[in-house]
């Protein structure tokens, strides 16, 4: 991976991928102008395809859907062995971390390809939570080289303590409070108390990155094995990404960032999370389409393959179109994040909206077009339906992301005053 790419990777995180500000980059008279550098490459490079092949081979070997399904009913919903192999051996944990900090010095383009593959396999690993969201928060906050190095090398796993449903820009109500350290503790120590519901990829985490309210608002690092940390697994709609409720009871913490820097770190993390989750959902949708096309070619009723009926063919053609459109949006978001393009907030909103809708549609069509077998526990269709629907809510629903276009593309909402419509 080139030094140039590495340098470019660092900047957007520092600059923040926040979608919070109103009308960022848009003139009052029109929409945002689009990418600053013209249309970026929306295809997959040879290096990206090679990375995809390596990840796909590992997942085929280690994460067949029957294993994934069986794991959902155990007490170990995350596959930590698989995660170690992906993180350390293939190098997926450090893709967005510069080489100087122990990472691969790649970019969000490569990271998105890995996310697609994990979606295709509905893989139960904390890639999104640790290698993307927590890592993006640390890269934005800066000065956390040791922790970043450990995450990038796969020696540690971290999670940002925000609800999975939190959308970029919509700062969640703070539910963790900061208080002063105990008298015998070193300077720079704080104590956190409170709870956060429905966090993704937090169960296997060693380190928790906790946004907490106090004076000032800050982002804090907490060791998951401290006394007073309680993680209660949640019976989750998507059992391949089991959520957990976090409770902190007077837990010692180290402050990573304060004030605006902390807010920016959280916003950058949520933006990166939404973009990479969009690519994951693209993978979910693609796999659904493949699976269903293969099935309707095989399944025979009325003495012919059911895939020869126009009623089914047209639905699958429409699904293919939706996947095709979603892929363009996902690649554009990854490309904008990779170069720190100022169009990134808009690109992320488009990608999350398009990929959420495509994945939900794909999961639903997969169940319906498989007929009876698609409704059973023993068929993988439900894993994709649940991963798709859950992911569509994760880091902001399609509706919320489209809503952010009101500011980003200068399409303001109706005012509170009733429109008369006749005064034009």
């Amino acid at each position: 991976m080139s030094q140039t790419t590495q340098t470019e990777t660092g900047s957007p995180l520092a600059g923040g991928a926040s979608t919070g500000g109103p009308a960022a980059g848009s003139a009052s008279g029109g929409p945002a102008a689009g990418s600053a550098s013209g249309m970026p490459d929306l295809l997959y490079s040879d290096a990206e395809s090679q990375l995809r092949a390596a990840v796909r081979a590992l997942l085929a070997d280690r994460a067949g859907w029957r294993d994934v399904l069986a794991r959902t009913e155990t007490s170990q919903p995350y596959d930590t062995g698989l995660w170690r192999a992906l993180a350390a051996d293939v190098g997926c944990a450090g893709l967005i971390v510069p080489e100087a900090l122990g990472g691969a010095g790649a970019s969000y383009r490569e990271a998105a390809v890995v996310a697609e593959e994990l979606g295709r396999a509905v893989a139960p690993v904390p890639y999104l939570g640790s290698a993307i969201v927590a890592t993006a928060a640390l890269l934005s906050a800066g000065e956390e080289e040791e922790l970043l190095g450990a995450l990038a090398a796969g020696r540690a796993t971290a999670a940002l303590a925000v609800p999975f449903a939190a959308a970029p820009g919509a700062r969640p109500m703070p539910t963790i409070r900061v208080s002063a350290a105990h008298d015998d503790e070193p300077a720079g120590t704080y104590r956190l108390s409170g709870s956060v519901r429905g966090i993704a990829d937090v169960l296997p985490a060693d380190i928790l990155l906790v946004p907490a309210d106090g004076v000032p608002y800050g982002l804090y690092a907490v060791s998951a094995d401290e006394a007073g940390v309680t993680l209660a697994p949640v019976v989750s709609l998507d059992a391949t990404r089991q959520l957990a409720d976090l409770t902190l009871d007077d837990v010692p913490a180290r402050r990573i960032a304060a004030g605006a820097a902390a807010e920016q770190a959280v916003a950058a993390a949520l933006g990166a999370g939404a973009a990479m989750l969009a690519s994951e959902l693209l993978g979910v949708a693609e796999r659904c389409l493949e699976m269903t096309v293969a099935y309707v070619k095989e399944r025979r009723q009325f003495a012919r393959p059911v895939g020869s009926f126009q009623a089914l063919k047209h639905r699958l053609a429409d699904l293919w179109v939706a996947v095709t459109q979603a892929r363009a949006a996902a690649r554009y978001a990854a490309a904008c994040l990779a170069t720190g393009d100022p169009d990134a907030p808009l690109a992320i909103a488009l990608a999350k909206a398009a990929c959420s809708d495509a994945a939900v549609k794909a999961g639903q069509e997969t169940v319906q077009l498989h007929g009876g077998i698609g409704f059973t526990w023993e068929h993988p269709a439900h894993l994709y339906l649940k991963r798709g629907k859950s992911g569509s809510i994760g880091f902001g629903t399609a509706d919320r992301h489209r809503g952010s276009l009101g500011a980003l593309a200068n399409l303001p909402a109706a005012s509170a005053a009733p429109a008369t419509g006749a005064s034009r």
Binding site: L312, R331, A354, A419
Partner: protein
């Protein structure tokens, strides 16, 4: 870069040798064609230099910057977008020499005589007969949905030449002289009130065998080549953000706060997002083509374009409220083509209804995607091995 620099200097040399102020417009365009600077991806001797298609913009940019006359490509969309590639891939060398230059310069407008009253989606069922008589053919039949027929010098024409074989095998393709005796063009008035299209009646029209494109009985293959180019032409142009029909919807939204409602806000956000994603998908498709990875995504472009145009224009009429109840003009007129950017929402709403019918219905496009892209089994065919004359009608 070398090819690009070389092209730039070629254009500059050409401009130096042809005084823009003094030159006759057609003479200038003919000379540009003969210099291989018309369409650079075409072969040498036929207006091009066998270069990558992407370099065309270099040449067009240089000529535009110099204020050179253009060949008014919008007036000959079918000629440039469909006839030229068909002639190039399926015509004889003599035909290419004879037809491509006046086509490119705009001296000869082309139209397309494909659809018939009894052959729309099932184009291969067409009934217009061509009967051979020595070194020419005599053609009788009726064609419909023919844009520009009233302006055209020539037409791409598919005919039935052998009714005794199954329908796909008995067709032959011609270039028809639209000024020949027996060609009658009548306007076909649309639901928008005007007539872009025509119906064309062919009564004992004589076509020289030298104007046949492809071999006798090979008409379906040539017609398929034309239709592929048509779909690329309809869905494939590059646009800036808010470059399509969404532009006027977004503009009205911004300029008229009094028209906004919560439900319409959701609609405008959806449409804006869908239009922008479709634009990105179009850009990705062009990148694939440029990288020599012709992907099947092209089939999606026209389908999405039709759907978006219909949804956006439907939204626009509703957003307009009381003004949406007015229509500018129902009188019978003869425009050159669809005008999606210069007219009112009611016209756009009505005209966009044709987008999912012209150039292959959206239903036929879904069949194509399902069968050619996804590899799903073909429809059960009752007409495949039956002689055309024996098909039930």
């Amino acid at each position: 870069m070398l090819a690009e620099d070389d092209l730039r200097s070629q254009v500059r040399d050409f401009l130096a040798a042809h005084d823009l102020a003094a030159a006759d417009r057609l003479d200038f365009l003919r000379a540009r064609f003969d210099a291989g600077l018309a369409w650079v991806h075409y072969p040498g001797g036929l207006g091009g230099q066998g270069l990558p298609r992407s370099l065309q913009q270099v040449v067009d940019g240089e000529f535009a910057a110099a204020g050179a006359p253009t060949n008014n490509p919008e007036r000959n969309g079918i000629g440039l977008g469909m006839a030229a590639p068909t002639i190039l891939s399926c015509g004889s060398q003599e035909q290419k020499k004879r037809w491509l230059r006046p086509l490119w310069t705009g001296e000869e407008i082309w139209c397309q005589l494909f659809s018939e009253p009894g052959a729309g989606s099932d184009l291969a069922g067409l009934a217009t007969r061509a009967v051979r008589d020595g070194d020419h053919w005599v053609v009788n039949g009726q064609k419909v949905w023919t844009s520009s027929a009233h302006l055209a010098k020539r037409a791409l024409l598919v005919t039935r030449t052998d009714p005794d074989v199954p329908k796909h095998k008995g067709m032959t393709y011609f270039a028809c002289d639209m000024t020949a005796p027996g060609v009658e063009v009548r306007p076909l008035r649309q639901l928008t009130g005007e007539a872009e299209f025509n119906e064309v009646f062919l009564s004992d029209v004589v076509i020289p065998d030298a104007d046949r494109i492809g071999t006798v009985g090979d008409g379906w293959r040539v017609a398929t080549a034309t239709l592929m180019n048509e779909r690329v032409a309809i869905g494939g142009a590059a646009t800036p953000r808010e470059g399509g029909m969404i532009a006027s919807a977004a503009h009205t939204w911004r300029e008229h706060p009094e028209l906004r409602t919560p439900g319409l806000h959701d609609a405008v956000l959806r449409l804006w997002a869908d239009a922008e994603v479709a634009r990105l998908a179009g850009a990705r498709l062009r990148q694939q083509l440029a990288a020599g990875q012709p992907g099947p995504e092209g089939s999606a472009a026209k389908l999405v374009f039709a759907r978006l145009n219909q949804q956006i224009s439907e939204f626009e009429v509703e957003l307009a409220g009381p003004d949406g109840l007015r229509y500018e003009d129902w009188s019978m007129r003869r425009p050159d083509g669809a005008n999606f950017y210069g007219r009112d929402p009611g016209y756009r709403y009505l005209r966009a209804k044709g987008n999912s019918i012209e150039g292959g219905t959206s239903e036929i496009l879904r069949n194509i995607i399902a069968e050619r892209v996804l590899g799903l089994p073909a429809e059960v065919r009752l007409d495949k091995d039956v002689p055309w004359k024996d098909l039930p009608r």
